[in-house]
């Protein structure tokens, strides 16, 4: 990435920043590869946790403290635990043979497509500006929300914007979560069919 090197030369980061980024990037990439190549779904889920922690470190490095905390709580604490719960619940935590390739030529094609995508993204970025547009359209990342005595910093700004500019989207996500929960309950509930009643009667006939 020659363009990246050019940008790097102009900003002069300090060595702790380089160290943090290198460590987090290593953790992220090892975790991401681990998700893809793990035979055991439990190992894949733990690799995913590794990646999520690395991304949270990079969030902190980029002044997104609140999002880093939410990343750990929601992703690592809720989503991955949900994955692990389903893996254990279904009992599919056996090793899977990843060496068989049911569709001939699928993996080389997948790698070729992905490399073309990556090359396209990087080439596009190298030949144009990384980011264009006006600064601080919604609001600055840091700073006082209202007056000099009001709360300052990134969480205060984010909270203010969520409850003013993005209020409708915020309420819509609340509705979305409720719908998702109701949908999950409906999906996971056993339907009261004759078959289910038969199962229950079979279970009740078993000796205690």
């Amino acid at each position: 990435m020659p363009h990246a090197a050019l940008l790097l030369a102009s900003t002069r980061p300090t060595w702790p920043d380089v160290l943090v980024f290198a460590a987090a990037a290593t953790v992220i990439l090892i975790g991401a590869v681990g998700v893809v190549v793990s035979r055991n779904p439990v190992h894949a889920a733990l690799s995913l946790v590794m990646t999520l922690f690395g991304v949270a470190v990079l969030f902190i490095e980029q002044e997104a403290d609140f999002l880093a905390a939410v990343q750990i709580i929601v992703y690592a604490g809720a989503i991955v635990v949900l994955f692990l719960f389903v893996i254990m619940f279904l009992g599919v935590d056996r090793a899977e043979d990843v060496n068989v390739e049911p569709l001939g030529g699928q993996r080389p094609l997948a790698v070729v497509c992905a490399v073309i995508t990556l090359g396209g993204v990087l080439a596009m970025a190298a030949t144009s500006h990384w980011v264009t547009g006006a600064h601080q359209v919604v609001g600055p990342i840091q700073g006082h929300v209202a007056g000099p005595n009001s709360p300052a910093g990134e969480p205060a700004q984010l909270g203010k914007q969520l409850f003013t500019t993005y209020l409708f989207a915020f309420e819509a996500t609340a509705a979305l979560l409720v719908i998702a929960v109701v949908g999950a309950v409906v999906l996971a509930r056993r339907p009261p069919t004759a078959e289910a009643e038969q199962d229950e009667s079979d279970e009740s006939e078993l000796p205690a």
């Binding site: 900003t11 980024f21 998700v35 893809v36 894949a44 990079l58 599919v92 997948a110 609001g139």
Partner: protein, 101 residues
């Protein structure tokens, strides 16, 4: 001063590519879901990077909404996986061929 945004965007592109490869290659529906989470995280990283480069909190607000949508998606998706497992006792995408012609 933290590193230039180019490094973060390049890393996010690589993570997104790894997730895409996994989604195309793996057969286990659960692991395909995890690869989708990888791709969502790569997109989140680019949003936070752009938010820092433009000094605009809007990018971080979008990440917040992506987190919520990802949680809802996982809940419904895993509900479908559990329901399907009850009927067919498998989580492999190749075995879900009931609509095969």
């Amino acid at each position: 001063m933290s590193l230039s945004g180019a490094w973060y965007l390049g890393l996010a592109a690589v993570v997104f590519t790894i997730g895409a490869i996994g989604l195309l290659v793996r057969r286990n529906v659960l692991i395909m879901f995890m690869c989708i989470e990888l791709m969502l995280n790569a997109a989140n990283l680019t949003f936070v990077t752009f938010a820092r480069m433009l000094n605009d909190i809007g990018g971080q607000a979008v990440v917040f909404f992506v987190l919520v949508v990802a949680a809802a998606e996982v809940v419904v998706g895993l509900g479908i996986v559990v329901t399907n497992y009850r009927r067919r006792a498998t989580t492999m995408a190749d075995d879900m061929n009931a609509l095969k012609g």
